[in-house]
Subunit: 242 residues, 2 copies
């Protein structure tokens, strides 16, 4: 395998929102699928890591959207590892349409955790990873480190069966789906997402009570999801009028 993986996907009907564009959370899912496939292809996928009692966890993610795909559209995603530090690795993505035009970029940071302690493990334990460092960057700002919000919650919810994945915690893209549900149909008729940043801080488990906090600054919204006073996840969304 080369340093860059390249994977194709077709957008499905259930990926489309009422405007027939795909949900930003679905685009995020395809990006994470590409990451999973590339890690598998290179010998350090989740199933491989599970044998050593490790797993990958997503720490931060940024997606900058030039054009959001529509239902049935075919896209392809190129992905590669930019760099590795002691505890985290940076993986980048470029999303292409069928005419090979870039329609989105994404930057992600990952840590490897021990399945028993749920604590990060030194990435030196995966020596093959170093063979795949490309050094190649993407032309967007790195993932933002988002601040906390002190104001009262705008919504509360409990973690449900459909929220949790094979890692037995809330699936990364569900946090984004939760905050996108805070906007009205009318909002979606007049705004599109230009960029979103997510910081994953603590895992939320089945039944956990979640409060959702929001802070608006022009067309940028910051959200924080908490379990009591503990910050679980922060999401920043930059909108554009259309």
């Amino acid at each position: 395998m080369g340093l860059v993986g390249h994977y194709s996907f077709q957008m499905q009907p259930q990926d489309g929102d009422f405007t027939e564009h795909v949900y930003a959370s679905s685009l995020g899912d395809y990006i994470l699928q590409a990451a999973g496939k590339n890690a598998d292809d290179n010998g350090f996928g989740v199933r491989e890591l599970n044998r050593e009692n490790y797993t990958w966890v997503l720490i931060r993610m940024a997606v900058e959207i030039i054009r959001i795909p529509t239902m049935y559209e075919r896209i392809s995603i190129k992905t590669w590892i930019e760099s590795i530090r002691a505890a985290t690795t940076t993986r980048n993505f470029a999303v292409f349409d069928e005419q090979d035009r870039v329609i989105a970029y994404s930057g992600t940071n990952w840590a490897m955790i021990d399945l028993n302690t749920r604590k990060p493990v030194d990435l030196g334990k995966l020596p093959t990873l170093t063979h795949y460092i490309s050094g190649n960057t993407i032309p967007i700002e790195g993932v933002a480190k988002l601040p906390s919000i002190e104001s009262a919650p705008v919504a509360t919810r409990k973690v449900q069966y459909s929220d949790i994945d094979f890692n037995k915690h809330v699936n990364s893209m569900k946090y984004l789906q939760w905050v996108l549900n805070e906007y009205s149909i009318d909002w979606y008729n007049h705004h599109a997402i230009q960029r979103f940043d997510i910081n994953f801080l603590h895992e939320a488990m089945y039944g956990d009570p979640i409060s959702i906090h929001q802070q608006r600054n022009g067309l940028t919204d910051l959200f924080e999801m908490k379990r009591q006073d503990e910050s679980l996840c922060k999401v920043q969304i930059q909108w554009v009028n259309h």
Copy 2:
């Protein structure tokens, strides 16, 4: 094209629940995707119908599960039209694993509606449909016509952005996801779905307040979703211990 369409799918990480088996609603999604692809292949898909200002709506669905697939598993789905009546058509499905063993059957009833009036249209308006009647049945009971429930709701919710699809109404499989969220992790650790039946009665729209009613009879649960007194959707789930 022959009378039977045959489509392959790989189960994705986000299709898997915490047990690494796919959500019943995800299996249902793949079955509906196969229906969509086959209608497209035969010239009467949704996009074709939209040109005449019509669309397909799912009226009833039954799925009998012999073995629920796991994450990453590849399945294939055969689908064909069994019969056509004036206002509805019956489409059947057989789901296979990679060893060509049947792991599920599904029977569905569909109507074609006018996009302006939202009322059913005579299927005689689609003359090509009659070329695809196979007459072939599947070895499960037909879709149940489910009764109403008079008791108080067990849950209430509002229709959210992530619930509605390109038809601008609640996506068929979301009703199933809602009722599956009424069960605990402990329940899923000890029970599996043997069969589900769904009756779709009225469309729910963005912002609609929904009440969920439940009635248990042994390992069979009946659910009804209502908007005030209007019945929108009924779901019956037959569980088995494992």
